[in-house]
C-alpha cells in the first residue's frame, strides 16, 4: 500500500521520468557485463558507475529487474552471524542499508523491528550465546535473552509452543529489519541507469567466450558483446553460468518456499525465527504475515510449490500462535537457493581471469545486497579482492578453509 502512495508522490512532484531506460539494442563492447538484474547485480553496477567511474556497463537478465530471488525472499535484514568475518561483512551491509533510501530518494520501507531467533533446546541456547558473544565483541547489538523477554516483545506468543518445543531463550538482534524488496532493485536500477549503465531485460546469456584463461565476450539471445570482465550475480542460476566458463563450484540448488497471509491489523512487531520449528515470520507494512520455513530437502531447479510446505509451516505457526487458526494463507511461492556447504557466499575472483562470482547466496542474500554491490564493484574495478570478502573466496573449499558459519549449521539464515 505504502509503495503505491509513494509513487503518487513522485509523480506529482516530478515530470514522470522513467526509472530505468530501456536501450534499444545491445552494444558491441562493454567494460563490464553484469549477468543478473537482481539486487546484487544492479547494486554492483550502481557502485561501479558511482564509485569507480566504470560506466560502460551492461546488466543482462533473462527475465526482468528483481524477478529472481530479490523479489522472492522474505526481506529480513540482520547481521547476527557466527563468525567475525561474517559479522563484519553483514554489519557493513546493515549500515549501508540505513542510508539507501536517502541515496536513492526512494522509500524502501526499511523498518527496524528487532529480530528474535528462538531457542527451544539447550544446544540452541548455547549457539545463541555464541552468536551473541561474537556479535557483541564486534559491536553488533545482539543479546541472549530469556523467555520473559520474548514474551515482552511478542506478548501473544505461546512460550510453550503447544507443549512441543518450549522456548528456552532467544538471540535478540536489535538491528533486525525488513524492507520492500522490489524497491531495492528498482532503486539500484534507477541509480545505475542514471549513471549510464544499460539494463537489458529479457536478454539471456547463452555462452561466455574464454580464451587463454580469460574472458573475451558474452553470447546472448540478443547478440554477442565483447568484454573483458563478467560479474555473475544470478543466485540459483549460478551453476549454469559457471558451467559456461568451465568452473566447478560447491553450489547446489534447492528451492526455498515462502507464503503470505491475508492482511490483518498489525499485532506482530518483531521478526521471529525458530530453528526448531522451521519458522520465520514478520508482519509487513500491508499487514500480511510473511512466513518462511527451511530449505526444501532436495534439489529442484524450478520454482514449483508444494502443499507439504504449507502444511508443515502452518502447523508450526499455530504451535507458536494458536490464535491464528482462522487466518488464511493467500499465496505461496518459491525461489531457487544457491546453497554452499558452509552457509557462506562464494565471492570474488575465480580461476578464469575476468570472471567474478557473487554467488552462494542460498537463503541469506537479500540482506547483503548493498555490501555485495560495494565489495564486488571494488573487486571487479580493481581486480583486487575486497578485504571484507576474502573469507568467501571460491578457493577456500580446496584449501579446506570453510567459514565457521557451518559451525552452528541450522536454519534461520
Amino acid at each position: 500500500m505504502a509503495y503505491q502512495l509513494l509513487r503518487f508522490a513522485l509523480a506529482s512532484r516530478h515530470p514522470e521520468t522513467r526509472m530505468f531506460r530501456t536501450p534499444d539494442r545491445l552494444g558491441e563492447t562493454y567494460d563490464v557485463v553484469v549477468i543478473g538484474a537482481g539486487g546484487h547485480g544492479l547494486a554492483a553496477a550502481y557502485y561501479l558507475a558511482r564509485d569507480h567511474g566504470v560506466r560502460k556497463v551492461a546488466v543482462l537478465d533473462r527475465g526482468y529487474i528483481g524477478g529472481g530471488n530479490t523479489g522472492r525472499n522474505t526481506t529480513i535484514i540482520r547481521s547476527n552471524y557466527l563468525t567475525p568475518e561474517g559479522v563484519a561483512f553483514y554489519d557493513q551491509s546493515v549500515s549501508l542499508w540505513q542510508d539507501l533510501a536517502q541515496d536513492f530518494d526512494l522509500n524502501l520501507f526499511y523498518s527496524t523491528r528487532g529480530h528474535y531467533t528462538l531457542a527451544h533446546t539447550d544446544s540452541a541456547v548455547r549457539t545463541m550465546r555464541w552468536r551473541a558473544e561474537v556479535n557483541k565483541h564486534l559491536g553488533v547489538r545482539s543479546e541472549l535473552v530469556g523467555p520473559e523477554e520474548v514474551k515482552r516483545a511478542c506478548p501473544r506468543i505461546d512460550l510453550d509452543c503447544g507443549g512441543h518445543a518450549p522456548i528456552l531463550g532467544a538471540l535478540f538482534h536489535a538491528p533486525g529489519a525488513i524492507a520492500r524488496h522490489d524497491a531495492v532493485a528498482w532503486g539500484y536500477g534507477r541509480g545505475a541507469s542514471q549513471r549510464g549503465v544499460e539494463i537489458h531485460q529479457q536478454t539471456e546469456v547463452t555462452g561466455i567466450d574464454v580464451e587463454a584463461g580469460r574472458v573475451k565476450g558474452v553470447h546472448t539471445t540478443r547478440g554477442y558483446v565483447s568484454t573483458r570482465k563478467v560479474l555473475c550475480a544470478v543466485a540459483g542460476f549460478t551453476p549454469r553460468v559457471t558451467h559456461m566458463v568451465g568452473i566447478r563450484t560447491p553450489i547446489y540448488v534447492h528451492p526455498l518456499q515462502a507464503m503470505v497471509s491475508e492482511p490483518m491489523k498489525p499485532w506482530l512487531d518483531p521478526i521471529l525465527v525458530s530453528g526448531s520449528l522451521h519458522v520465520y515470520v514478520s508482519q509487513s507494512a500491508r499487514g500480511e504475515l510473511v512466513m518462511g520455513a527451511s530449505l526444501d530437502p532436495y534439489e529442484v531447479q524450478s520454482t514449483r510449490s508444494t502443499l507439504d510446505f504449507t502444511e508443515g509451516l502452518a502447523a508450526h505457526m499455530l504451535d507458536m500462535f494458536p490464535f491464528l487458526s482462522h487466518v488464511r494463507v493467500n499465496r505461496q511461492w518459491a525461489g531457487m537457493a544457491d546453497m554452499t556447504p558452509d552457509f557462506a557466499p562464494v565471492m570474488g575472483k575465480t580461476p578464469v581471469e575476468g570472471f567474478y562470482l557473487d554467488a552462494g547466496w542460498g537463503t541469506w542474500g537479500f540482506k547483503a545486497t548493498p555490501v555485495c554491490g560495494k565489495t564486488m564493484s571494488y573487486t571487479v574495478a580493481t581486480d583486487r579482492t575486497h578485504e571484507l570478502i576474502r573469507a568467501f573466496s571460491l578457493s577456500r573449499f580446496e584449501r579446506y578453509e570453510l567459514t565457521g558459519e557451518k559451525g552452528a549449521a541450522s536454519v534461520g539464515h
Binding site: M1, A2, Q4, R7, A9, S12, E16, R18, M19, F20, R21, Y64, G66, G67, A101, D105, F109, Y110, D122, S123, R126, E133, H137, H164, A165, E262, P263, M264, K265, P266, W267, R286, G287, S305, T306, L307, T310, A314, A315, M317, L318, D319, P322, F323, L324, S325, H326, V327, R328, V329, R331, P341, D342, R399, Y400, E401, L402, G404, K406, G407
Partner: protein, 967 residues
Amino acid sequence: MTARLPVVEGEWIDRSRGVPFTFDGQRFEGYAGDVPASALWAAGVRVLGRSFKYHRPRGVLSFANHDVNTLMQAGARLNFRADVEGLEPGMALTAVNTAGTAARDGLRILDRLSAFLPVGFYYKAFHRPKGLAPFWENVFRRVTGLGRVDFSTPRLATPKRYDFADVLVVGAGPSGLRAALRAGQAGARVVLVDENARIGGSLGYQRGGERRSRDTLVELEAAIAALPNVSVRPGTLAAGWYADHWVPLVDASRMTKLRAKAVVVAQGVFEQPAVFRNNDIPGVMLASAAQRLMYRYAVKPMHVALVLTANAEGYRAALDLLANGVEVAAVVDLRQRADDEAAEAAVIARGVRVLHGHCVFEAEARADRLVAARVCPLDDSGEPRTSHAIHVACDGILMSVGWAPAAALLYQSGCVMRYDTAVEQFVPAKLAPGVFAAGRVNGVHDLEARLLDGERAGAEAAAWAGFHTDPVPAVPGLTSTPSHPWPIVGHPGGKNFVDFDEDLQVRDFLDAAQEGFDNIELLKRFTTVGMGPSQGKHSNMNAIRILARIRGQSPGEVGTTTARPFFHPVPLSHLAGRGFTARRETPVHERHERLGAAWMQAGIWLRPEYYREADRPKAECVRAEIRAVRSGVGLIDVGTLGKMELHGPDAAAFLERLYTGRFAGLKVGMSRYGLMTDETGVVIDDGVIARLADEHFYFTTTTTGAAAVYCEAQRWNAIWKLRVGLVNVTGAFAAVNLAGPRSRTVLARLGTQDLSRDAFPYLGVRETEVGGIPARVMRVGFVGELGYEIHVPAQYGACLWDRLMEAGREFDIRPFGVEAQRALRLEKGHVIIGQDTDGLTTADEAGLGWAVRMEKPFFVGKRSLEIIRKRGARQTLVGFELDPGSSAVPLECHLVIRDGEIAGRVTSVLESETLGRTVGLVFVRPELAKEGTRLEIRVDGGAIVAATVVRTPFYDPDGARQEPEHE
C-alpha cells in the same frame, strides 16, 4: 424495506428459517442459505465495506469470492468473505478496515493526513528526513491491514482426510457436470467438487429469462445422482494443483488431500468489470453478481438498471432482470453491432432502449448510492464523445463486458496458455499430462458447446485413467465473441478502478508503465495489481489489456503473471490439521515420571534432565545425583542411544571403513571407542563398538545421531557391498548405565556373571542375565567410575530398572539424569560430540586424534584428514581451570579474548563439587593450547575472568576408579 423477490425456482434460501444477525451493530434478518451480503442487500444496505486504501464505500461486485470489499469481521473469524460464506444465526458482523462503521467510516486517511501535510510532501516525508521514517511507519501500521485477530481464538485442530479418485472434476457448471457424468458412465471413480454451496454453476443463474438452463441443471443433477461412483461435493474448494495430481480440497470443516489419476478443470471464468469512473460505487456490479442475487438468494438487485455490455450474456442478463421485475433503463453496448441478434431482439421486444457503440463514461452517486450513469457514444477510435453524453437515471449498473479464465489450477499444473482473439481470452495451448480443460476456461462459451466440451473432457480423462469410452465429436465453433478487447474508458477525473482490492485506477498503470515498469511482472510488483485478497481474479485481465495497449502489443505478447496457490485463501487451521510432533520415550519412561523427572528434549527423545526433590533447587538435586555416583551407586537410563546390530563375514571390515579406529583385531567380548567422521573429515558421531562374536558386533551411536548414522552406514554398504547385515535396534533394546563404586556389588546380586577384574575387565562385554533378564553388559567408563551399561530387550526395560533399584536400595542407589551425567563426564574430560565439537571440528582439534588410525588403507574422511593435517589445526580443545575466587563463572560459549581478539570459546563448564574447583573444556587457538597457558574469558556483562589451561581428565587421571578395587 425488503428487496426479496417472490419465490424463485431453484433459490438457495430456506424461507422457513429466519436467521437473525447484526452488521455494524444494526439488527437484520436473513434466511438460511443466505450469505451476509445477500441478506444485507435484501435489506437495502448498500455500503457493505470500505476499500483498502481510500476507504471508499463499496457494495457487491461479484458474489464469486473475490469481493474484497465485503470482507467482514465475524467474531473471531477475520476477513470473512460475506459474498460467499454462509450466514449463521446470531452472527455479529462488522466491516473491516474502518474506524466506526462501513456507512460512517471515520478513517478517511488521505483527508486526514492531507490536512496537515501537502500530499506530495507527505509521501516524500516517509523516508526523508530519515529521522521521521519510523514515525510514518507507525502511522501506517495503525491503519494498515484488514481484519483483526482475536487473540482468544483457540488452536483449531482440524483433522485432515485423504482421498483418491480416477477423475477429479473441478467445477460443477455445465461442462464439469457433463464431464463428471461421462467419466462416471465410463466406470471411473469420479469426485466432482464445486466451491459454491450448490452445484450447477452458471446453469443456475445465467438463465436469460428462460427455463432451459435450469432444466438442464435438474436433468444433469438427476443423472449424476444415479451414479454411485460419482461423489458430488459442493462447498468444496480445489485450492491448488500440486505434482502428481495432488489436490487439496478445502471445505468448511477440513482439508481433504486427494490424489487423482486425471483432473478435469472446468472452473469456468471470472466475469471482468468494465473500467469507468466510479465503477466501484455501490450498485455497480458484474452482471453475474446481479444474476446470482436473483436466482440464488431471490434478491432484487436494483429497481432500475443500466446494463453495460459487449456480449450476448449482457442481453441475457437484461432478460433475467426483466423476468424478475427490474426495470431496465438501457442496454449500453460497447460494440457497434451485437453478434447475437436473437438476444438483442428479445430485449428490444420488451421495450428496452439499446444503445450500440456507447459506453458508460461515469457513474454518479449521491450519499454513497448510485443514482445515474453518464453514457457517451464512442467515436471511431473508441474514445467517448463526452459532448454527446446522455444522463440515465438508475440505481444499478450491470457490467457484462467479458471474462477471464479461472485457470489457476491449469497454470499450476504447467499448462501453457495462449491468447485467442476469437474469444478475446487466454485459453489452454498445451495441457499438462493427465490434466484436461473443459468449458469456458477452455474458451468454449455457448451453452450447448460447453456441455459437449465437458463430455469430451470427461471421456478423455476417463480414458487417461484407464477406462474405455467412445470418442466424442468435436465442439462446434463460436457464434459470438464473449469478451471485449478494451472495456476501459478513460476519464480525466480518474477513479476508474481496475483493481478493487488495491484501489488501482487506470492512471496508476499508465504512470507505472511510463516509469519503466512496463512488463507484466514489474507492473504487478510496482502497482501491486492482483496482490490483494482476490489475487487478481477481477483485475489481472484488464491490467494486461492496459499494458498491451501501452506497449502496442497483443495481450498474448504481454503474457500473464504466474498463478500460484492458493486459488482462494485457505485457513491456517485447515493447512495445519491436528499437527503431529514426533516424540519418543524409552521403555523406562513411566518410572522416571514417578521418580519426579524434570524432562528435557534430546532430539525427538524425552530424557530426564534430573530428578526433582521437594524444596530442593535444581542445582542441589544434580549435585546429590553426582555425589551418589562418585561415592555410592547411580543409575541412568541410556536407552536413547542409537543401537546397531551388525552381522556377517565382513562385519569388522565394514566398521574399519565406517569408523576412524581399528576393529579387525578387537577381541570377542571386548569393546572399543568408535569415532566417525564425514567425507570432509569432520567429527559427526561416536559410540562404543562391542564384538559379541567374530562376525557379530553391537554398537551404539549418539542419541541424536542414530537415524543418520544408520542411514549413512547403509548407503556406504550399498556402495561397498560388503557381506554384512545391519539392523537398527535402537527401539528394540532398553539400556541403563549402573555406575559408581558400589555398582559391582549391586550387579552381583542380580546375576551369575563373574564380575572380577580378570573375568570382566574394563571395556569387556558379556552376554549374561541380570535379574533373570537376558542382557548384554558392557563395562564402560563414560562417567569416570566403575560402571556397567546393561542392554536388555525393550520389553524388560522397566523390569530391569526396578530390579536394579531394588538391589541398590541398601546402598542408597540414586537415579541420575542427563545434567549429572554431563557433569560427571566433564570431570573425566570426556567430549560430547555436538557440544564440544561443532560442524567443522576435526578429530585432532577435538583431542580425539588418538582414536584415528591413519595407517588404515581407508576410512570415511581419511583422505580429507590427510589434507587437513598438512594445513594444521585451526583450534584445539583443551581443559581449563578457573582461577579460584573468580567473580563469575563462565557459561558455555563465552569467548576467550586475547589482545582484543576472539581467541577461543568455552564449550563445557562445571563448578565441580567433586574437584572443589571450576573446570571446563575450551577451544583455543593452537598456540594457546599448552598446559599452563593463561586464558582470559569474557563472561556475561563483559567482565573478564582468568583461567589456566590444564590437562584432562580433571578427575581420576589414571582411571583407577574404573576398577572394582575401589568399592
